[in-house]
């Protein structure tokens, strides 16, 4: 995993598009790298079409079905947005981490811990006002996710424990912790399933007016410019980019990289944790063992396809959200297994890596 991810952002291919003040020089190459992503995505769809044909479907019809089944109606589009919301939030946090070359593979666990802590808070806190409850639960979720990320950052900064391994393994710890909690302390006393009781009303997210999607999406959208600003215009963002480009020089310049790594892990964990509690307060309405169908892992693809750019994260999250739903659609209409769309997602990443290599060679 490390080598794969490394290839996306290896230091020998500096990208002036990242430079805050180097804007004039940055635009052309930013377009170039967008073009690269677009070409890789297109190629992935072509290869995916071949796979669809091999599976016995008409690829053109399949893609048409996907398109109409996801963007065809306001209802379907709402479903896409429901998928997009957690991917967007987690992807933003991972974009920050990956930009620093801190490879957080533990967003899934951070999401679950955010869901667990935020969910427990929402169930037990005697708050009757939605306007207080929702932000408070979000903060609790973000804090829990951030704390889960902090463990990884601390281990890396203190004892150089590889964050890929520790963050990955902590996913399982988080999942089992959640499963235990909903079987014992938080189990719905009147139900038979291992799930918590339903969240009280003040902790239920309202929908975005006119769409059937919870307001968590708006939180994600609102954070896009915030992340973009922080990365470009604050010392924290600057140091994060510096560290991602050249850690030794960053250290020599007096930045305490151990602390910075920890901070970056806390930030990306907090985004995932907030995504977790929003899933609980939104679509799920209670704590269950399968709050997340792997959002934390899919968001890695989102951040990489977006090339760690905040606006790109939104587009990539929508694309992959649509693709996931599209899988369900073609399973119905074309009788092909929905996992084919997961293959296409994987092809995105593979082809972007290839395109990245080719782009580098042509320079």
């Amino acid at each position: 995993m490390t080598t794969t991810v490394d290839a996306v952002d290896s230091p020998d291919r500096p990208d002036p598009g990242r430079t805050g003040t180097g804007r004039a020089a940055g635009w052309s190459s930013r377009l170039g790298s967008l073009g690269l992503s677009a070409a890789a995505i297109a190629a992935a769809f072509v290869l995916g079409g071949i796979l669809l044909a091999l599976a016995g479907a008409n690829p053109f019809q399949a893609y048409a079905d996907m398109l109409s089944g996801t963007f065809g109606s306001r209802f379907d589009f709402s479903l896409v947005l429901v998928e997009t919301a957690p991917l967007l939030l987690i992807g933003l946090g991972l974009a920050v981490a990956f930009r620093a070359r801190v490879w957080n593979i533990g967003a899934e666990g951070q999401l679950l811990m955010g869901a667990l802590a935020g969910g427990a808070f929402a169930i037990y806190a005697p708050i009757n006002s939605r306007a207080v409850m929702i932000p408070a639960a979000c903060l609790v979720g973000a804090a829990a996710g951030g704390a889960w990320g902090w463990v990884v950052g601390f281990l890396r900064a203190r004892w150089s424990v590889n964050e890929v391994i520790s963050s990955l393994l902590l996913n399982y710890v988080a999942l089992r912790t959640l499963e235990y909690t909903i079987r014992k302390p938080l189990r719905d006393p009147v139900g038979f399933q291992p799930v918590s009781e339903t969240l009280p009303d003040p902790a239920r997210l309202p929908d975005v007016p006119g769409l059937r999607v919870h307001i968590g999406l708006l939180i994600g959208l609102g954070l896009i410019p915030v992340v973009a600003y922080v990365m470009r215009r604050t010392p924290f963002g600057f140091h994060t980019r510096m560290m991602g480009l050249n850690r030794d020089a960053t250290e020599a310049a007096g930045v305490r990289t151990g602390r910075l790594i920890t901070a970056v892990m806390v930030v990306s964990g907090a985004f995932a944790g907030m995504a977790g509690i929003l899933q609980v307060m939104g679509p799920e309405s209670r704590l269950t063992g399968n709050i997340s169908p792997g959002f934390g892992f899919t968001a890695i693809i989102v951040a990489l396809v977006a090339r760690m750019r905040p606006v790109g994260v939104l587009l990539a999250a929508m694309l992959i959200g649509a693709l996931t739903l599209g899988g369900d659609v073609i399973q119905r209409t074309q009788q092909v297994p929905r996992v084919l769309t997961i293959v296409i997602q994987a092809l995105f990443v593979l082809l972007i890596l290839v395109a990245d290599r080719l782009g580098r060679r042509s320079r």
Partner: protein
């Protein structure tokens, strides 16, 4: 296993002189890498049964010449003959077939395999479906080890062995493959003094048994004890080949640094005279280093060549103090400690009488310490950020560039434009990506960032490495200007020209220890080669 050729008559040591057909004859060898000429018209002879030392400064072309013999590189010009037959090696494999073995400075061993496994690795024996019988290999290795006094347990894991033992494994591997010509690149660089003595003894034993040995080194003392003949390379060409018993460390040092440059050294001395005048006007001590060590153990074996021990020196305002030395003698570790990137094991560093031992890079920056790091691309430049950002990145969270929560891009840009102008950095615009900079301009960025503010102390490590003449002159002038403006300058360099061009006082670091030397090329050259005790002798001469 070792094929000791019966025909070359030179069986006794030191007889590798004229007459017999040399085992290896390299004639008119040239090798260029791009625009850099690494080897230019070099000749080299090697006879069976001799230890032939290849001596020269960093970058003199020693390793390149031997890489050509070992088939790792192909010469652009010239011929190589083995036993009088012309050869053209396409790879190291061909060279091994011809009986040549090379032990690189950085060992090429797999720590998690046993000695026996490492020895057969890459011989082709393992390439077949069936692995060779490791017991047989082990027996052969232990047999060889016994014969040459290089005993090492064939069953032990390489990772468990000491550096000296690992080197034995490398030598045994070459012998196991039938090497009758053994090339050792800086074999003593990482060894303790006891291990060095042991190695030299073994090599002499092997030579007596007919093996021809090439030893690449900077160390004059070792050359004098170990070698039968010595070839001195300078700037890619051989300047002389002399029998060891007809030369002296002083002559070798002179050959290494060059006669024509001793005129240069006079120029240096003229400058030095001027410099001495300045240095008498040098102010109070700015940097004081007392008994600084990177490792607690000292003196005896177990001492690692990269560590430094018990260093004390003082750098006053308005003077340039130089630490000269061949790379790998502890200066990189010293640089790291002085820049706040490493902790010393013992000793004290003070700046203006204030203890700054263990201070962070940030604290040093705030105290007025500027750093030009030896590896500019690793520690001094961030490719992917703009030139302007590179010029301020160490103070981006300070006014006027930024506060805690925001950065002012206009302040960054105007500072960038200002420094680009002041240091004449050739770049289209300050917002250009720093990865587009040439080496000289990259170094100017590093320089501009460090020197763009008022300093108390400048630590300049290898400030002109890899730069062209024009850029070197620029860097030197900037460093002199700092000195003249009252800054204390500590210069760490491997380049003798730089030492004589800039120093007010000079120390040589050799195997982690400092020796104060007079500002004389030969004395410095000798001390860099480890003949420190004879430095005063040289000064008298």
């Amino acid at each position: 296993m070792t094929s000791i050729e019966p025909d070359p008559p030179a069986q006794s040591r030191g007889s590798g002189g004229s007459g017999s057909v040399p085992l290896v004859a390299m004639r008119g060898i040239a090798k260029r890498f791009g625009s850099v000429t690494a080897v230019a018209d070099a000749d080299f002879d090697l006879h069976a049964g001799e230890i032939h030392a290849l001596l020269g400064e960093n970058g003199a072309g020693k390793t390149t010449l031997m890489n050509l013999l070992y088939g790792l590189e192909r010469p652009d010009d010239g011929s190589i003959e083995i036993d009088g037959e012309p050869v053209q090696f396409r790879s190291a494999h061909d060279a091994i077939e011809a009986g040549i073995g090379m032990v690189h400075q950085h060992f090429q061993l797999v720590p998690r395999l046993t000695v026996a496994e490492n020895v057969i690795l890459g011989t082709g024996e393992g390439r077949r479906v069936r692995l060779p019988d490791l017991d047989e290999v082990a027996a052969a290795i232990e047999d060889l080890g016994e014969r040459y006094g290089l005993s090492v347990s064939a069953a032990s894991l390489v990772g468990d062995l000491s550096v000296g033992e690992q080197q034995r494994v490398e030598i045994l591997r070459a012998l196991y493959r039938g090497a009758r010509i053994l090339i050792l690149d800086e074999p003593t660089a990482t060894l303790s003094p006891v291990e060095i003595d042991h190695l030299i003894e073994r090599l002499q034993g092997m030579a007596a048994a007919g093996t021809a040995i090439v030893m690449i080194t900077h160390h004059l003392d070792e050359v004098m004890t170990a070698a039968d003949r010595i070839t001195v390379l300078r700037a890619g060409a051989n300047v002389a080949t002399v029998p060891a018993d007809e030369t002296s460390p002083l002559e070798l040092a002179r050959l290494m640094v060059g006669r024509e440059v001793s005129m240069l050294s006079e120029v240096g001395e003229v400058e030095q005279a001027g410099a001495t005048a300045t240095s008498t006007s040098a102010g109070p001590a700015v940097l004081t280093i007392e008994h600084l060590s990177s490792a607690s153990a000292s003196g005896t074996s177990g001492e690692h060549a990269r560590d430094f021990f018990d260093l004390s020196l003082e750098v006053r305002a308005s003077e340039i103090v130089t630490i000269a030395g061949v790379e790998g003698n502890g200066q990189a570790e010293l640089e790291a400690v002085l820049c706040g990137l490493g902790q010393p094991a013992a000793g004290r560093i003070s700046l203006d009488q204030t203890d700054v031992t263990g201070a962070t890079p940030r604290q040093l920056l705030d105290a007025g310490v500027g750093v030009i790091p030896s590896d500019r691309y690793r520690r001094g430049l961030i490719r992917g950020l703009s030139v302007a950002e590179n010029l301020v990145y160490d103070r981006i969270d300070r006014a006027p560039y930024g506060r805690r929560l925001w950065i002012d891009p206009r302040a960054v840009a105007s500072r960038g434009a200002d420094l680009v102008g002041r240091f004449s950095i050739a770049v289209r615009s300050p917002s250009t990506d720093a990865s587009t900079l040439s080496g000289g301009n990259a170094q100017k960025v590093v320089l501009a960032r460090a020197l763009g503010t008022d300093l108390r102390l400048l630590i300049a490590a290898q400030p002109t490495r890899g730069l062209d003449v024009g850029a070197i002159e620029f860097v030197w002038n900037q460093i002199r200007a700092q000195r003249d403006a009252g800054v204390a300058v500590l210069l760490i360099t491997t380049d003798l020209n730089e030492v004589t061009a800039l120093s007010d006082r000079c120390f040589v670091i050799y195997r982690g220890r400092l020796i104060e030397t007079p500002l004389d090329r030969e004395a410095i050259g000798m001390a860099m080669g480890g003949a420190g005790s004879r430095a005063e002798e040289a000064a008298v001469l």
